[in-house]
């Protein structure tokens, strides 16, 4: 059978099966088979049609198998709940109950389907399974990216691409509600839709950033420390694939009325809002496993698998940033999972954790939530700041200024990050005995952050700077993160925060930290390692256009946000009072937002097209001393034929004859002569 026929047949069979299952489940639940509103039926048919289409391309493909597993998980969960409810003498069908139980089972179905559990299940039965290297026999190279794979570079790319896709969804949502805010009054969105969209924008961006961080860390850490893979390759694949059904659950919320609490999900509002909130809460609960397991892997790899001679203070600085990040992920993520699980339990089983009338405390939710969600900010930015520290010496042709100070400042930020959470609650009505100490601890974060800034300045000072796209993004990271950093102290000081809290000033502040701390460095990393990953060069001109649009757009947007907040604009409002005279500022923010959006689109286009048609890249286009640049591009399946040996300092640019790694008997210094002409 020709491929096109299998694809068409797959789609039709899938769509038909989806429709039958939809009607069948409703019938079993005691509902009329067809609802008045047929849109869910169509959505289900299209969704299963796409699965069928993918299976038509190749029946062994992991992703559609996972989706079939997920759908099966939903059906099993729904049927089980209906059955148990009947046995208990309740009405068999309760929409929220059946979907909540099914949402807990669906991700497991996905993992079974995609094959993330296969090896472990075989081990239970005493079956030996070897580690898989390369694509499965008889399959093309692209095949492994759409299924369970154990190679850290494949997983790194899976993380990165999924992250960019989610970023695209979340960014599109932002463009939609930013357009709505062009004028006072509601233009084309309903209030509830607006509220759902801001929450989805936030939480999907966070998921995207966590995936982006996972992508950079997975791809780079083994290469940088001289390992051929991560410590636990199967766990690595599992940690990626559990994030996929989690993200799908969050997106599903929109089909169940959405939710209007924003990404913070504050109780008691989250207990009272629409049932879509369950999908968001359970989705994040499962997403947490991805963070925790990924962190275990990164810590083990960094601490146990470094090349001979690579002491902790001879690691590339990015590895330090990832290590600090992994400690936060390993110890903090449980708390957001816990707080969200408690909301699900309060909603569905009436356990009054946050209900004052039942002896609960609404502020307890905020404490538990922020105990993770503040350190989470450092999960997002520390790897990005690590990228800045990693790339600056290469493009300045100078040693990293104050290596140990930068390395330890990451650790200091990670530690301090756990002691500042209550600054998110300065206006929540907590006693001064909490507000004052948390003001001091929050202020202290400025100190290690300042060390990073000043050390970066020391790094560029008297260097020989050159400015290809990655360096431009690094410089923009510093300039933008500076806005985020400098708007921090007024928020950390309690009295000024009384005015600024929950205003657009905060929106400007954290978007600047997220862009300066993650988005700009992430794109710097994408452009920088692009030749190493794909073996081809990106288009420099498009890269510069992307840079110009994103940087100017963002600079204008974040400063205008902060300005509007000072004037009294609140966070998360669907409409604003025309009497405040802030419409012009909103127009500026929206236009600037679109500049960023278009810039990112150009960037993604550049990367996608260049991956196929770009110029073939040389081995070490930037003249880097880091070990991964001494490998051919793209990196071979097994990274290093033989382990290299570290014999010098990582960033000794400008010291003639200095050697960092000795590989296959050759000393690798990082050749300045190979630098591109300016």
């Amino acid at each position: 059978m020709p491929t096109w026929l299998r694809i068409v047949l797959g789609f039709l069979v899938g769509a038909a099966l989806g429709a039958v299952v939809f009607v069948g489940v409703r019938a079993v639940g005691g509902l009329p088979p067809l609802a008045d509103d047929l849109r869910p039926l169509y959505a289900m048919a299209v969704f299963s049609g796409i699965i069928g289409l993918m299976l038509g391309i190749d029946r062994q493909l992991g992703l559609p198998r996972g989706l079939v597993g997920m759908a099966t998980g939903f059906v099993v969960g729904i049927l089980a709940t209906v059955g148990i409810r009947s046995l208990m003498g309740l009405t068999p069908w309760d929409t929220e109950s059946v979907w909540v139980v099914a949402s807990f089972i669906a991700p497991i179905g996905f993992l079974l389907g995609v094959g993330a559990l296969s090896d472990w299940l075989r081990w239970i039965f005493g079956i030996h399974t070897p580690e898989q290297h390369g694509p499965p026999p008889g399959k093309p190279g692209w095949f492994r990216y759409f299924g369970f794979d154990q190679n850290h570079k494949v997983i790194g790319i899976q993380y990165t691409v999924t992250g960019i896709l989610l970023m695209g969804i979340a960014g599109t949502l932002a463009m939609i509600f930013r357009t709505e805010l062009l004028a006072p009054g509601m233009q084309f969105l309903q209030l509830d839709t607006f509220n759902t969209f801001i929450g989805m924008h936030g939480i999907i961006m966070i998921a995207a950033i966590l995936l982006g961080v996972g992508g950079m860390a997975n791809y780079l850490v083994p290469l940088m420390v001289g390992a051929n893979d991560m410590a636990f390759p199967r766990l690595n694949g599992f940690a990626f694939w559990i994030a996929v059904p989690s993200a799908l659950l969050i997106i599903m919320a929109v089909f169940f009325g959405g939710w209007d609490t924003g990404w913070t999900g504050y109780a008691p509002l989250s207990v009272r809002t629409f049932m879509g909130v369950n999908f968001f809460l359970i989705g994040i609960f499962f997403f947490g496993f991805s963070s925790i397991l990924g962190a275990i892997n990164l810590i083990a790899t960094t601490l146990m698998m470094r090349a001979p001679g690579m002491s902790l203070f001879r690691m590339p600085i990015f590895v330090w940033a990832v290590l600090a990040t992994a400690f936060i992920q390993l110890t903090g993520t449980q708390f957001i999972g816990l707080s969200f699980l408690m909301v699900v339990l309060e909603r569905n089983l009436n356990m009054g954790f946050f209900n004052a009338a039942m002896g609960g405390d609404p502020l307890l939710f905020q404490h538990l939530f922020w105990f993770y969600s503040h350190p989470a900010v450092y999960i997002f930015i520390l790897p990005g700041l690590g990228i800045v520290s990693e790339l600056l010496p290469v493009f300045s042709r100078k040693p990293l200024f104050g290596y140990k100070w930068i390395a330890l400042s990451s650790m200091a930020i990670a530690l301090l990050g756990f002691m500042v959470w209550a600054h998110h609650m300065f206006t929540a009505g907590i006693p001064n005995a909490l507000r004052l100490p948390f003001m001091y601890t929050t202020m202290l974060v400025a100190v290690p952050t300042g060390v990073k800034f000043f050390s970066w300045l020391g790094t560029v000072w008297r260097g020989k700077l050159f400015f290809p796209t990655p360096m431009l993004f690094v410089l923009a990271s510093i300039a933008v993160f500076l806005i985020g950093g400098l708007t921090g102290p007024p928020l950390a000081t309690v009295p000024t925060d009384l005015h600024l809290h929950d205003s657009y000033f905060v929106v400007g502040h954290f978007h600047a930290t997220m862009f300066g701390g993650f988005v700009f460095p992430f794109f710097a990393a994408l452009y920088y390692w692009f030749p190493k990953v794909t073996g081809r060069m990106y288009n420099e001109r498009l890269g510069r256009i992307h840079f110009a649009l994103q940087t100017t757009g963002f600079y204008i947007m974040s400063l205008t946000m902060a300005r509007t907040g000072l004037l009294g604009m609140r966070r998360r409002i669907a409409d604003y009072d025309p009497a405040m005279n802030i419409q012009n500022l909103h127009i500026i923010m929206t236009l600037a937002g679109f500049a960023i959006f278009i810039g990112v689109l150009i960037g993604v286009y550049n990367l996608v097209v260049s991956a196929r048609r770009g110029e073939v890249a040389v081995m070490n286009p930037w003249g880097s001393r880091s070990p991964e640049w001494q490998l051919p591009s793209p990196v071979p399946e097994h990274n290093y034929e033989e382990p290299f040996e570290v014999v010098g300092e990582p960033y000794d640019y400008g010291l003639p004859g200095a050697v960092y790694v000795r590989m296959n008997g050759h000393e690798k210094a990082g050749a300045p002569a190979a630098l591109p002409a300016q």
Partner: protein, 341 residues
């Protein structure tokens, strides 16, 4: 050394230039309370520090970008130095002292904004989806607008009926969440006669954006007149203008009491029935019977919303409007609804 001198000159000049601009920008809205003056002073100190650090970092960065760029065909590397422990200690200790100084200032200002006074006016503030209600326990007055006498310390006692809200009048600068099941406190002293709005600053559901209520800061004399009017003991002096037009009263109450958060005036569907074309219409009730919307029905639906619930709507409207609205305000609302045809 030459570069260090150059960049120092640039930074000093740019700092003063930018400080001049920053200190002449009206960053904040009107300063309408004692707290606003304290907080703005602290904020402008923050702005000065921000300006200096902004110029410092960007100055050195941009200087390096322009002066230390690699010339064409220059294969040489940058200057070789690893770091400088003395500098690192310097830029650890100086920021440390600065932030601790700001924290001490912050603590001082906070205690001033929270200070209690003997003659303070107590107002009970209740937030609920999606309206504010205010009570003056001293006189047993309930209101949908927050009326305050100028230059008198106010002690707000805040509650929530449902979810977390946040009391914020940007012109007063201070903010306090209202938390269900808990009692919260906020003190302030208004200093500028004028009309402001309290705006809910904590996302609280569908109509969060519209959870606003008027705040009127009045002279002591005007406040006394308002108080007497609300108590029904006001004797107007000779020749005072007649009572306000009821439609205008109703239109104002529709906003201040939060009616429009759930009832649209343009026919669009929200949580409750739209007011457009409502008067004179025949509504089907939840029990299947019908009722013609007249003055009596509207009055009943405002003070006892559950009595005759229109089919297709939930019984979610608060039941206490009979207490917090005056009879004149209810009449005004009915007259206003009548105009929406």
């Amino acid at each position: 050394m030459r570069h260090a001198i150059n960049v120092t000159i640039i930074i000093v000049v740019a700092t003063f230039a930018l400080l001049f601009i920053a200190n002449n920008v009206p960053w904040m809205p009107v300063q309408a309370s004692v707290e606003a003056e304290l907080i703005d002073r602290l904020f402008s100190l923050h702005i000065d520090t921000i300006v200096f650090l902004y110029v410092l970092v960007n100055g050195i960065l941009l200087y390096s970008v322009f002066v230390f760029r690699r010339k064409k065909d220059d294969p040489s590397e940058g200057a070789y130095f690893h770091g400088n422990t003395r500098l690192e200690i310097l830029w650890t200790v100086l920021p440390l002292i600065t932030v601790i100084y700001f924290a001490i200032l912050g603590g001082n200002v906070l205690s001033k904004t929270m200070a209690a006074a003997d003659d303070e006016l107590q107002v009970i503030v209740t937030g609920r989806q999606w309206a504010w209600a205010f009570e003056y326990p001293e006189w047993g007055i309930a209101s949908t607008e927050l009326n305050l006498p100028v230059n008198r310390r106010v002690h707000l006692v805040l509650y929530s009926d449902d979810v977390t809200h946040s009391f914020w009048v940007p012109e007063f600068r201070v903010k306090q969440d209202t938390v269900p099941g808990q009692e919260k406190h906020l003190r302030l002293t208004p200093t500028q006669v004028g009309t402001y709005k309290v705006r809910c600053a904590e996302l609280c559901g569908t109509s969060h954006a519209y959870m606003e209520a008027p705040v009127n800061v009045m002279t002591a004399e005007d406040f006394e007149i308002w108080r007497q009017k609300r108590l029904g003991i006001y004797v107007p002096p000779e020749g005072e203008a007649a009572a306000e037009d009821p439609v205008a009263v109703g239109q104002r109450v529709a906003t201040s009491a939060g009616c429009i958060a759930c009832h649209s005036t343009d026919g669009s569907a929200l949580v409750g029935p739209t007011w457009k074309g409502l008067f004179g219409k025949t509504e089907t009730l939840a029990d299947g019977s019908t009722v013609v919307v007249d003055e009596a029905y509207l009055h009943e639906s405002i003070v006892d919303p559950a009595a005759k619930l229109v089919a297709g709507f939930q019984d979610v409207m608060p039941k206490n409007y009979g207490d917090i609205l005056t009879e004149a305000e209810i009449t005004g609302l009915i007259e206003y609804i009548k105009t929406l045809q």
